[in-house]
Chain length 326, copies 2
């Protein structure tokens, strides 16, 4: 048995793009994508899993690439009517997106696990690789701010990350178990690489690492462990990563990312713009590998996935499904 | 205090039209509309009250008068996506309509009564008269058929009333209480009339009469009690009333309606087409009053409401808001 299974840890938009690239270049049975659920919340009676939804929509091709979140060809009829009926308006619920929340909520209430529901819904939308929530137990990210502690979605969506963050905790993480799929992937005999997608280290990846046993297990993994930096040239590609890192006292550059993952990661993929940081990254005990890290097109995703897998010494399909090859 | 309060008992589409007519000609504080909840059910995790929704949409002007049910300017994006995700498709959930179910479901789960929720949502949509569910306790209409007993919506929507009905029961009715608004309206000192809207007597009105004490109270009311026949010239104006009456052994004409309401009603409003049945209706102990009973336009609703109230000796606003008056 060749050790070529790839375990990818993933948060929302940026991570989902790399996950889509990985799904494009690996046979589905060779890839497990574990997704953050610390952002999950209940809203208007619906169980919403924003990062799972982003990954599902991205991998199924349903995502709106212009807006940057949610479903393409979306409409907002329910939302407008919810407003007339006095329901909360701070979290946008598109009509197509609502179907996902309704199906998930119904099935959770019927007693299915989030793992089973996610696998089923992803399969319905044609997604091949295993898509796994980090846990079937509730973990809720809370952000301590100058305005008090906020639920993640309140901080992220309603407050648009404006309050200064002082700390983050993952409520419920100590009592939560890694999902069966996550736990099994970490123990696979054919595990060939761990990939940390370019998601927010503090908000999207730390929740996974906060689950009992996960950090220790990853620290002890003998396979190549590769992270892709979500910071390029001192800027976050997407979202509040840079602001948050700064507020939490980290260096807002690739060395800050490297320091955060120290002891867990062997290789850090950095953009060409950060080539000069390679020596500092080496001082932190990991190897910097340069690859274009800003994913604007589907071809960018595939190229970054290929570079990441190459760094991890995982062979990929010879014929990449990139556009423009002739 | 003049005894001029009007208590209207109402089911779905036909009843809602007369209720809208009553709302157009009476000051809001003079009208209480009690709505059947025997059709209520849970679907894809949502608490759906079809008759309440029909009355709310009709009175708020949101209803789709072409389709005959649901909300105008409706779209079906969530429904299509729910289908892709493997959720049930037999009950249509429009995007705008979904907002109502979401708001109601959230508030029920938060512990509010259906009465409080209905009053609040109706008020949000600008409805003036008191809109009251028949009960805050669950009552579920079940139809015995040759194919076994069916939940009402299964019989009505999924099976489109095709199975031959052998009987109807209202599960939970014995243990349910009339809602506070219904109970209070029946005991009002200023009650001036009871009006039974032209809804299906067996499916839409009988559930209200099955609640403990209601039939007895109505039988003992000293005020004019007026029903509008949902059967015109041996045909149901809408829905399965005629087929159902026939299967249950009733005469499918206005005398069948009169016989069903015997002892509860003083006056039966019948269409011009049924003028010849007046003597038979008199033999059943009630007075037939002729009025055009097919409501095609808003003006028809107002005219039938005015005729119904006139039969009950309730004075109405002098200036009717009908179209075409000059």
């Amino acid at each position: 048995m060749s050790a070529n299974h790839v375990l990818a840890l993933c948060g929302g938009v940026g991570g989902a793009k790399l996950a889509a690239g990985l799904a494009a270049v690996l046979p589905p049975e060779q890839l497990t994508i574990v997704v953050n659920t610390g952002d999950d919340f209940e809203h208007i009676g619906l169980s919403i899993s924003p990062d799972i939804d982003t990954v599902v929509y991205t991998l199924s091709g349903l995502s709106d690439q212009v807006r940057g979140w949610g479903v393409a060809d979306e409409s907002w009829q329910a939302m407008a009517q919810l407003g007339r009926l006095g329901e909360a308006q701070w979290f946008q619920l598109g009509d197509r997106d609502l179907a996902m929340h309704l199906a998930r909520t119904r099935r959770l209430r019927a007693g299915e696990t989030l793992s089973a529901i996610t696998a089923s819904l992803a399969g319905r939308l044609g997604i091949g690789p295993a898509l796994v929530p980090m846990s079937d137990d509730p973990v809720r990210t809370k952000v301590s701010t100058a305005d008090g502690e906020l639920d993640f979605q309140r901080y992220f969506v309603a407050e648009q990350c404006r309050p200064v963050a002082r700390g983050i905790r993952f409520d419920g993480a100590e009592a939560a178990r890694p999902s069966p799929g996550f736990a099994a992937a970490l123990e696979r005999g054919d595990l060939g690489a761990l990939i940390v997608c370019p998601s927010n280290p503090y908000l999207s990846i730390d929740p996974l690492l906060a689950l009992p046993g996960v950090r220790e297990r990853i620290a002890g993994l003998a396979v190549p462990r590769v992270a892709v930096s979500p910071i390029v040239a001192g800027q976050a590609i997407k979202g509040p990563t840079a602001k948050l890192m700064s507020e939490l006292g980290a260096d807002v550059d690739v060395t800050g990312v490297a320091r955060h993952y120290r002891g867990l990661i062997d290789i850090l993929i950095v953009d060409e713009a950060d080539r000069a940081s390679a020596a500092q990254i080496a001082d932190l005990g990991m190897t910097a590998v340069v690859a274009p890290s800003v994913m604007r097109s589907d071809a960018d995703r595939v190229a970054l996935a290929a570079a990441t897998l190459a760094a991890a010494a995982i062979e990929i399909r010879e014929e990449l499904p990139t556009a423009g090859r002739e």
